[in-house]
Amino acid sequence: MSEEQFQKRIDNEEKIEPKDWMPDNYRKHLIRQISQHAHSEVIGMQPEGNWITRAPSLRSKMILLAKIQDEAGHGLYLYSACETLGVSREQLVQQLHDKKAKYSSIFNYPTLNWADMGAIGWLVDGAAIVNQVSLQRTSYGPYSRGMVRICKEESFHQRQGYEIMATMAAGTPEQKQMAQDALNRIWWPSIMMFGPHDADSPRSGKALKWKIKRETNDELRQRFIDKTVQQTEIIGLTIPDPHLKWNEERGHYDYGKIDWDEFWNVVKGNGPCNKQRLDHHKKAHSEGEWVRNAAIAYQKKIELLTS
């Protein structure tokens, strides 16, 4: 097969499957994108995991646990999809540890009060949903099917977060203050999740041509902002953007300038929690090595016995 024939398949909305021919760069791009998506799910367990033991009610504790469990599951679906491209889970984890692979920089921020659980579910999962709904139509079969599964599970995540924010915003003065504080800290990093502006996004062109990505960063970002403003107003909180204004002509909300210096700083490794998140992951991994070795040793013994 040639690149032209491959492109024709893409243009025809055909799904590319693991054993199909694909350009090297298509494979490489997918490995990078899918693995970074997977790493994000897994690292994302940490900021939320930070509040599990302190969850303030049985119900909220169970819901948070179920949500984080889903994130782990999403990580697994995505690692599975990525492995179909010819890379192993161990290699992917090694890339994460060596900082060769990235994860969503939103998870490099700390979770400082219980309302952060609300803000993360509502905004971070909310932003992820906008992105993921779009990705359901991605050209690579296993990734697309993974995304369909993930999207089904994701909507409860956002509702869980929004419910926490609504409850706190309508609660005691301290609760409302915590909710507004969480919104103040998490709003801008959430809209940065969609990546640089289209004009500054070099890989987007190829990604769109190959239908790995179906919409641009700015299109998705705008969609998210438009949806969220109304939700914020309903619960009586304020988005920390004085330039946020409905533009009748465009039919969208205008919003203020994103601080890209902060974004790139965090991406480069200077965020509040970059070191902590990676150290935590490495520690769990290395502390678990004796366990994994034991399981493999046991497996070998069984195989010897049954051979």
Binding site: G73, S80, A81, E83, R89, E289
Partner: protein
């Protein structure tokens, strides 16, 4: 760094009587662990009543390059499909 663990493909039967459908894969060192991991990952929302796990290396797949000779010949044998035939009006149970 520990060795790679085996990949197992997971098939879930959502309801008695239906076929098992491919749901994805899990890593595990043996079949008991594979079953448990598959159950934890793929049936949290009651998606199934039966799980099959198969080591990925045991799966034999048709090759994309062969799809011409493997699958196209069935494409022009429309007479295998019931809709190919015109039935007289009014005939029942056929």
């Amino acid at each position: 760094m520990s060795e790679n663990t085996d990949v197992w493909e997971v098939f879930i039967q959502s309801k008695n009587g239906l076929p098992h459908k491919h749901a994805g894969s899990v890593h595990a060192t043996d079949k008991e662990m594979a079953l448990q991991n598959a159950r934890d990952l793929y049936t949290r929302r009651k998606e199934g009543s039966s799980i099959w796990v198969v080591k990925a290396t045991n799966i034999v797949a048709s090759q994309a390059e062969d799809s011409d000779s493997f699958f196209d010949p069935s494409d022009d044998k429309m007479y295998r499909h019931p809709t190919f035939y015109t039935m007289p009006d009014g005939a029942k149970n056929i």
